[in-house]
Amino acid sequence: MEAYAYARPTTLDEAVSLLAAHANEGRRTQLLAGGTDVLVQMRSVDREPRTLVDVKHIADTNRLDIDSDPVFIGSAIPSAILNENEELKSLFPGLIEAADLIGSTQIQGRATIGGNLCNSSPAGDTIPAIIAAGGVCVIAGSGGTRRVACEDFLTGVGTNVLEADELLVGLEFPRPKGRTADGYLRFIPRTEMDIAVAGAGVALSLDDGGTCTAARVAIGAVAPTALLVPAAADALIGTKVDDEALAAAGAACTAAASPISDKRGTIEYRNKVVAVLCRRAGANARDRALAR
């Protein structure tokens, strides 16, 4: 594989300048975090020359602020670090179960949720969980720093709002308060090492009586991008998140979905299963919230 360049900036400014300079000269760059998507693509579907800009050696992308509000997770932090962090698991059980679903133990030593988001696959496992948990993308670029809600970050299959001179620094999450919890489930035909046929993330808050006061529901692998489904959240808010409410939320997910039939599942199958996953993930989130 000839004609590849590799850059390893150590500050955000250096990274942004590098990206901007390449963009001005019309030279292609690609951001490299764990590389678990990029390296595979370079070896198979996309062999064109480019400069890889490694974001793993920048302090900001490695920052993990768990005790703050918002909680901040740097874009270069491998999911193994997240998966082994008991406090994060307790705060965002759904987000961490999503991060823990991707790849093998070995892959998780490299793979990042920031990279998963920037790869912007419709089937990216952490994306519905990030959206449900209210994740906000912190983006650095020549024009300074901007924040974009995760559900607005994605623009299509493999595309997002990042400009050629921008990079994702990390994700901010509102710190869960009181009886707030999340859950994520995906469906694959195997038990691991597979790509989601459908996925659903649910985050919700309950009052002391167990009534849902706030909810966010997101679905994956059933549309060109992961989607926030407000109608599904509305179906839960004001209820005890019982079977009936969960069924209504599931139906809202099916209504919001616009899947394709492909080698991983048919339209009919995905429409049905996304509702099942929403119900089950919602029940998990409810039970976790009730336990707080």
């Binding site: 594989m1 035909p189 090492m193 597979d194």
Partner: protein, 753 residues
């Protein structure tokens, strides 16, 4: 006649001799051969499933710096003759065209040209500069469509064997055999089950892609290093395709990272030799995973129809099987063995079996573990399950009622010598996993499996070293622990410890001819050769002892690894151990070696009974295998751990095929899931521990009673899964795979009814 008896080495579980090198990475596999000045070959593959090749022009590629040669069909001799000797069969001519298309590309991925360049990356880049002009033709992609009159012809010259006058057809061959009067039998039945079953195309799924390195010397002699199940067959096939004599080719087998039948044929070796001939350099070729899926041997998709009838007491009165298998682009679907195995476990008076070998625009089928049996026996064993329900009988009892025994004339002809099907069924009936009731809401399924096993040609030489260590040289590539088994049989025969014996797989010029490692023949046939070669050694050792003691050789016995005087021979001498004799062999007549070569007969059929409990998620259609029990007759288990490993590995492959494995094609005949991400073999966490129970009904044709064990294990799991899922659902899904979308769609359709 072999009988169960006490052994000292056989039946123990020592560490395999190749184990440490494999876990440390020291072992060399197909892609590990590197030579000075070596260049790399890559193959250009057809983007169409069916197309006439009007022109292949490599001139633009040849202009690229670092590109040494471009070849296409025109570079190979036409009119190759003869049959190939591998397990799958077929003609050299078809093999040659499968390796490099001539006038037509017959499947997406069919090789149309190849290039040699300085690096693999350069070679791939150069492929894009080879100009091929195609006339695209409509593909025929389904066995039922291909059999219809007027269907698009894969090969305009193909006629049905034995019915050539009927004109061109995609049906290459029809197999038919019959006994008794099936119609009268059905008329006498109280319950008749009749159903269609479809099984998808499946790949062997070996982890190591095909790889070889070839180097041609100035005298035109080629050396080929490759991963294969049979290097002697690689030699003859490569020679056949290139129009060379076998004496001009030497093949050196590497360690092999899985084959399962798929490495009994060749794809790259003649191309690498040809490219080496044109460039004067060694040429290495390694397939990508995608190429492995698109161009190498899957096994046939099939459409089977079974009709079986029985009396209320469980006696089967008649059975018929109609079996149509996809051959891929050239004749040779394993429908013959499919026909022969479909009713093999049973003693039937009335039956009819028809099989069809059908061309479609897909890769040519290659052998896959018990080729042909999983498809047909999935159908029959599913029908047996439905029959048992129909008459209200335990499915094991129904099988026991109709079970074949020693003396039964097998449906495929011969009279069975001692076989183990009844013992397997009886063992299943009392197995704790069967007597324990299944959990609420789960399903249980049981099925029988069978494989003929084969003998064929093997050679072995056994050599003594001066310190008494023993070298076994044989020609069967080790795909399942056979070197350990050879060492155990040699140790048993000679009466020496396992760890003084070393087994080696010799290249085509270092050991005698040996057919492929396939047909579950190696431990039986090559093992037989090793035992006979050891007996040769013993005879020579007795001679040396006799000479030392100044008695006749027939006055010497060989026991426990020592020469001793026969009882009644009155001489005062100390026993001479193998090491004693080896240490003095230079003074007693020179080096000692034993040899044997044979064409083994009486392989001994292998039967199994498997059962499983499953859970079906009614909302997603996902099937979880909760427990799986494999019971199989091994004759005698030489190395029980490796027999159990075969049973477990075969079970997992069968379960994978039953659950998720399938080739998914688009309408143009392009495989959409040419990778392990979407061609879903099971991962470890998908599987429960596979419980095993070895039954030993010794094979009288082998001194230690060996039967082949490698292939039978894949057969039963398909119907086991179908039967268990049908039990859980309360209705039958007859087609595979039982993937979540298929199962959920069936649940929905059933609820609508």
């Amino acid at each position: 006649m072999a009988e169960a008896r006490d052994y000292r080495a056989i039946g123990t579980r020592p560490v395999r001799p190749d184990g440490v090198d494999k876990v440390t990475g020291r072992a060399n596999f197909g892609a590990d051969m590197n030579l000075p000045n070596m260049i790399h070959g890559k193959v250009l593959r057809s983007p169409h499933a069916h197309a006439r090749i009007k022109r292949v022009d490599g001139s633009r590629a040849l202009e690229m710096p670092g590109v040494y040669a471009v070849i296409s069909g025109a570079d190979f001799p036409s009119g190759a003759e003869g049959e190939i000797s591998g397990e799958g069969g077929g003609t050299v001519s078809d093999l040659a065209m499968n390796i490099m298309a001539r006038d037509k590309a017959l499947y997406h991925g069919h090789a149309v040209a190849a290039v040699a360049a300085k690096t693999a990356f350069l070679a791939e880049t150069a492929l894009e500069l080879i100009d091929v002009e195609y006339e695209v033709l409509p593909p025929v992609l389904d066995v039922d469509v291909a059999m219809e009159p007027g269907a698009t012809l894969v090969n305009e010259n193909q006629r049905t064997r034995g019915n050539e006058s009927a004109g061109p057809s995609n049906i290459a061959a029809v197999t038919k055999f019959e006994r008794g009067d099936p119609e009268a039998g059905f008329a006498a039945a109280d319950v008749v089950v009749e159903r269609d079953y479809r099984v998808p195309t499946a790949h062997q799924g070996y982890i190591e892609p095909h790889a070889c390195t070839a180097s041609l010397d100035e005298q035109g002699r080629a050396t080929v290093w490759c991963c294969t199940q049979g290097h002697f067959d690689v030699r003859s096939m490569t020679a056949g395709v290139l129009g060379k004599s076998v004496g001009e080719i030497k093949v050196i087998p590497s360690e092999i990272g899985g084959g399962f039948g798929g490495k009994t044929v060749i794809y790259l070796e003649p191309l690498a030799v040809k490219l080496s001939e044109l460039t004067g350099r060694p040429v290495k070729m390694v397939m990508s995973r995608e190429e492995v899926f698109r161009a190498t041997g899957p096994t046939s998709a099939s459409h089977c129809k079974i009709k079986v009838g029985a009396k209320r007491d469980g006696t089967i009165t008649a059975a018929t099987a109609w079996l149509a298998y996809e051959a891929g682009a050239y004749p040779g679907a394993p429908v013959g063995p499919g026909c022969m195995s479909v009713f093999a476990p049973y003693d039937l008076e009335n039956f009819r079996i028809e099989g069809f070998d059908v061309l479609v625009n897909k890769p040519k089928a290659a052998a896959y573990r018990a080729p042909g049996a999983p498809q047909s026996m999935h159908a029959m064993e599913s029908a047996m399950d439905e029959l048992a329900r129909g008459i209200g009988m335990d499915p094991i009892d129904l099988r026991l009622e109709n079970c074949a025994d020693e003396g039964t004339q097998a449906p495929y002809g011969p009279v069975y010598p001692p076989i183990g099907i009844r013992k397997c069924l009886e063992a299943a009936k009392v197995h704790t996993n069967y007597t324990t009731p299944k959990a609420e809401g789960t399903g249980r399924g049981i099925a029988a499996g069978f494989w003929f096993n084969i003998g064929m040609q093997s050679s072995a030489e056994v050599r003594l070293s001066e310190d008494g260590t023993v070298t076994v040289m044989e020609g069967s590539p080790d795909i399942g622990g056979s070197r350990a088994s050879m060492c155990l049989m040699a140790a048993e025969t000679l009466g020496v410890p396992y760890d003084v014996v070393r087994a080696h797989v010799g290249d085509t010029e270092s050991t005698g001819f040996c057919n492929v490692t396939g047909g579950s023949r190696t431990t039986f046939a090559t093992g037989l050769a090793v035992v006979q070669a050891c007996e040769d050694i013993i005879a020579e050792c007795k001679q040396r002892a006799a000479a030392t003691w100044d008695v006749d050789a027939d006055q010497v016995d060989w026991t426990e690894g020592e020469a001793i005087p026969k009882p009644g021979v009155n001489i005062d001498v100390q026993p001479l151990s193998l090491a004693d004799i080896a240490g003095s062999m230079g003074r007693t007549g020179g080096p000692i070696l034993g040899r044997a070569s044979l064409n083994a007969q009486g392989a001994g059929a292998g039967f199994s009974v498997n059962f499983a409990d499953v859970n079906v998620d009614q909302e997603t259609g996902k099937v979880d295998i909760l427990s799986f029990t494999a019971i199989q007759d091994a004759g005698t288990a030489i190395h029980p751990s490796y027999v159990e490993g075969q049973m477990q590995g075969g079970a997992v492959q069968g379960l994978g095929w039953a659950l998720n494995e399938e080739y998914i094609y688009d309408d143009n005949g392009v495989m959409e899931n040419a990778g392990f991400l979407d061609y879903r073999v099971p991962v470890a966490s998908d599987m429960p521990m596979i419980d095993t129970q070895i039954i030993e009904v010794p094979n009288p044709s082998h001194p230690y009673g060996v039967r082949g064990v490698g292939e039978t294990p894949i057969v039963a799991p398909l119907a086991v899964t179908s039967n268990a899922v049908s039990d859980a659902l309360g209705f039958r899904i007859s087609d595979l795979p039982l993937s979540p979308p298929r199962v959920l769609a069936a649940i929905d359709a059933h609820e609508e009814d």
